[in-house]
Amino acid sequence: MKSTKRFFARLFSFATAKAQDQRLSEEIEEHIALQTDENLRAGLSPDEARRQAILKFGGREAIKEQYRSERGLLFFENLARDLRLAVRMLRKSPGFTAVAVVTLAMAIGANAVVFGVLNALILNPLHVPQADSLYGIQHGNEASSYQSYPDYLDLRDRNRSFDDIAGYDAAQVGLDDSGDPSRAWIFLATGNYFDVLRLQPFLGRFFHASDEHGPNSAPYIVLSYSYWHTHYQDDRGVVGRVVQVNKYPYTILGVAPPGFNGTLVFFNPAFFVPLVNQEQVEGVNDLNSRGKRFIFMTMGHLKPGVTKAQAVSDLNSIGSYLEKTYPKDDDQRTFTLARPSLYGDYLGKPMRAFMTGLMFLSALILLAACANLGSLFGARAADRSREVALRLALGASRARILRQLFTEALLISLMGGALGLWGGFVLMGGLSAWQPFSRWPAQLAVNPDANVYGMALFLTLASGFLFGAFPVRQVLRTNPYEIIKASSRGIVSGRVTIRDLALVVQIAICALLVTSSIVAVRGLLHSLHSDLGFDPRNATIADTDLSMAGYSGARVPQMQKRMIDAVAAIPGVESVGLIDLAPLVSGGTIDSAVFRDATADLRPSNAAATSFQYVISPEYFHAARTALLAGRTFTWQDDANAPRVAVINLEFARKVFGSAANALGGYFKKPDDTRLQVVGIVENGKYSRLTEDTQPAMFLPFLQSPSTQTYLAVRSDRDPAQLAAAIRAKMRNLDSGLPVYVGPWNKELATTLFGSRMAAITLGVMGAIGAMLSITGIFGMAAYSVSKRLRELGIRMALGAQRKEVLQAALGRALKLLGIGSAVGLLLGILASRVLSAIVFQATPRDPVVLAGVVAAMLLLGLVATWIPARRALAIDPAILMRED
């Protein structure tokens, strides 16, 4: 009680320190006056009376100091005093302050953003309760998770490890709620989806397992919060409304909670529809086909007490049951568990590796910034050694002086941290709003939470202490008498110091980043000009899905034929080809096992190869500029009544037939036992990813294997925007209820190039930051060494040294460090490129352009950094300099 009362009294008097000082002075004056009067009465002379009074009172300043320490919070008072001095010192050298603050702001901002993304992507991605026990079920032999509906039911009902298992598939539908059809990406989710995720609706209700009564029995919609917000403007009245999905009536049941955007990070579905309605949504009913693995992913919470290993062995025993029971459809049913948010390990592994690498790099940048500022700080402390010595001589404790230096360091780091965090916020806001793909609902909400703030604050304080610690040894070793006696100009020793090492490390990191970013950019340019097996330039893609407008059966190819004819009639269109999924555009691919003609037992393990499968119109190869190497392409006569035929690529021919010569005219089989004759062979290409190995691919005539998915490849020299408008008009004429997407083909490649592009951009940004850091580091060192050696250089010049020799003396050390650092960084960069080649197509440092680029960049950097110190060294006038001291 007493002490708290006293604390508040102290706090109060801390605030009113001035008035209190005044009061004490007055009291002391009065006290001494009264004592003087007394002494006068006792018969002393006036002077003596006052002298005795003062003596009796005791050391006035000591009393005042004691009084102050009783009165207020000495710590805070000293802090305030240190802060005032620090502000004054920093204001005296605005250049130093600006460089330090901006350097730190960049480093801390970069860390905050990278950590924010890491947090949103990996640490805290899904915004569902108890995400710790939520696992996705992926295949044991590869990082994928798709299941067929019957297999899903078996896994769900036979396992003893999960509370329950849910599944979903992503699909695109045509949504019509006011006569204006639009396309929307949705999740087809099992009825128990929301219950498995333990979510509560924001509005209305969710659908549940009890709503499912067989195919197409649950025409319900649950909206995602953000879609409800943007599309329905937070209208609470939408619950219960009936809208048209692919021309079928669906009832909106409710709205999912804010922050929940499905269970796949950066794929934000507009709404959720029960999976049993697959036929209405995707145009096919695969609910009873064990071989059709259309469920994108399954997941569930582990029961309390069940370990991952137990769950995996439980699932594997179900897997071996499935293998035995359904040998035709199920083989190699083994499983592993992974986080569902990034599609298990498929994206999760590379993303985790990439983000960890990025975090590591940004931490290195911060470390470099600290080393840099530390050496600048050390240099400043050395310049202030006379001041420090003077203060020591006057009785200041070393702790007090260090405290002053740390206050300065922390002030700078706090300013830098605040600025960096602000910049980070702006960037994260931009990232959250950014939709990199026009045709995918890909968006990543990077909302800084307590984790990010905490991290930024921690880094700020840690870096402040780190670079503030550089001059500590210097101050502790200061001998006031020596320094005041001698001149302040120290001798630059030839020894390798920590400062040198710090600078080399920093330059090496910078060179590493510069190397990596040049490698990434080169790889990106390569991939734009590599042989894709088609030519995306001067070609436009128009795509739609006929199931969205209710087409099925024989009406599908009829409609597609009319679409092709309509677009071909547009003036300036050279050719139009149809394909069910455009390579490198649609994201998804269809692949199928293929068997040699001689194979009778068509179980998956007997397959000769797994091949991409495309369905095309006769004109497609011409429109896509895919070279036909042998045989013929399809004709309009290859229809449902003609013998089944296929065109294959070289790789297919090599794998299944041994050679192209054997392949032409040969037969192969698909898992449904259809026998196809090879009528043509085309060049290899890229189908799913740019970085993929050469893959087999087969092309089937669309009249024999119809698909509602429709991509029109339109070859034309016309302006893409005009062409797009013309295509849209034609489509509207054919069917006004058909949502069509039109865009230039090479722009549509953005999805596949996304990884490389992101890698190039992030590395480029980090490289730029690293370069700036190195410049400030080299500059600081060179400038310091020149100013320390002014006298020596002056004497040399007076003795007739040449400009070259002077420069060598002044800057030789900094340049030598630059050389060593660059070499080390380049070597590290070459090693790091192995990691990079997983993301960026053809990323290789064994490329003269890369090597030359790095050397040029580092030279330029050295030139910029040493320009001013060199000018200063050359401008030395020995006469003036000698006169000075």
């Binding site: 009362k5 006293r6 009065e30 009264l34 009796k56 050391g59 009783e70």
Partner: protein
Amino acid sequence: MKQKSDVPQGTLALMVLKTLDVLGSLHGYGIARRIEQISGDLLAVNQGTLYPVLLKLEQEGMIASEWGASENNRRARFYRLTKDGRKQLQVETQDWQQTAAIIERFFAAKAEDLS
């Protein structure tokens, strides 16, 4: 000449409280003089040391102060005991007397008393 002794920590505060209890409102100089007089000049006090003690007591709420006019009609700060201070004084007086009594008994004790 008798050796003057230092004032133990805390004792000065007790003296201040007792002085104010007996004499009522008093300024700093007055308190210093009274303590000097009562202790019979045995205590070597730099009068100045009184002020930090006064501040501490005031912050603890034992005493209160206000400006008033001194004997020679100048502005002076007058201190008086608060209710809390009076209570505290009673407690500390008791404690002190108890301690003194115990110490006295130890001094009075002879070897045969302890056997």
